[in-house]
Amino acid sequence: MSDAGAAEGPAETLVLPADITDEMIEHCKAGRPNEACGILASRNGNIVKVFRMTNATLSPLRYSLDPKEQFAVYSAIEDHGWELGAVFHSHTHTEAYPSPTDVRLASENVPYLIVSLADDPPSVRAFRIVKANWTDAEGAIQEVSVSVLR
C-alpha cells in the first residue's frame, strides 16, 4: 500500500484568500532584486493576515528574518490569539520549489510558501520540510496544495 501512497498528490491543502495572496506577491515584487520574505498568520486554521517582513540578508539569493522583527510579529500573532500559519519567501530567478538552502535552514513546523518571480504571473507553491531533527541539513520535501479563493 505504501507504494500507492507515494504516487498520490499533496495530502494537505493551504487555502489562501485572494487579497492575502496578492499582498504577498506584491511584497515579493517590491523586494526585487532581492528575495523578499514574511509570515502569514492564521486563526483556527484560516489564513487571516500577511506580515510583510524585512530580508535581513539583503540578497537576491538568500533571505533571513530579522530576529527583532520576527519577535515583534510573533508577539502580535500571540496577542491577537492567532497562530503562525506559514512562512513565505520569493525566488527571484528559480522555480517555486525548495532549494537545498531552503531545506537546510528550514526550522518552523508550518508550510513554507515560495513565490517564484521567474514565472509571469508569479507562481505560488507550498511545502513542508520534514526533518528528524530541526538542525539536520537534509529533510523530506512534502508539497502542500495551495488553493487561492477568488
Binding site: 520576527q70 519577535f71 538552502t101 526550522s107 513546523n109 530541526w134 538542525t135
Partner: protein
C-alpha cells in the same frame, strides 16, 4: 505567579503540543534545565551538548534579546515571559 515560556512550532512535539509552558523563576539557564527535566526530548534542541544556546535559536526575555543581556545568566522573575524563536531563513542559492 510563574514564568511563561513560549514554545515555537518546531519544538512543540517535545512539549506534548504545548505552545506555552510555565516554569519557576531563576535564570534563562535554569529555566531551560526545568524544561529539559520536564521534557527530556527537548535536550539538545535549544541548547547544544555543552549547554550553550544553539546558534540558530534566539531567546527573548520579555522584549529583550537574551544575547544582549546576560545570555544564559539573564535573570528571569515572576511574571516574565520568555520566548524561544528559531531563526527563519533560506533562499534559492
Amino acid at each position: 505567579m510563574a514564568v511563561e515560556v513560549r514554545i515555537p512550532t518546531v519544538f512543540r512535539r517535545f512539549t506534548e503540543g504545548s505552545g506555552a509552558v510555565e516554569v519557576q523563576p531563576g535564570t534563562v539557564g535554569t529555566l531551560f534545565e526545568q524544561l529539559e527535566t520536564r521534557y527530556p526530548d527537548l535536550r539538545g534542541q535549544v541548547r547544544t551538548a555543552d549547554g550553550q544556546l544553539h546558534r540558530f535559536v534566539n531567546v527573548y526575555v520579555n522584549d529583550e534579546d537574551a544575547r544582549y543581556l546576560e545570555k544564559l545568566e539573564t535573570k528571569v522573575t515572576e511574571g516574565d515571559t520568555v520566548s524561544i524563536l528559531p531563526s527563519v531563513a533560506g533562499g534559492q542559492g
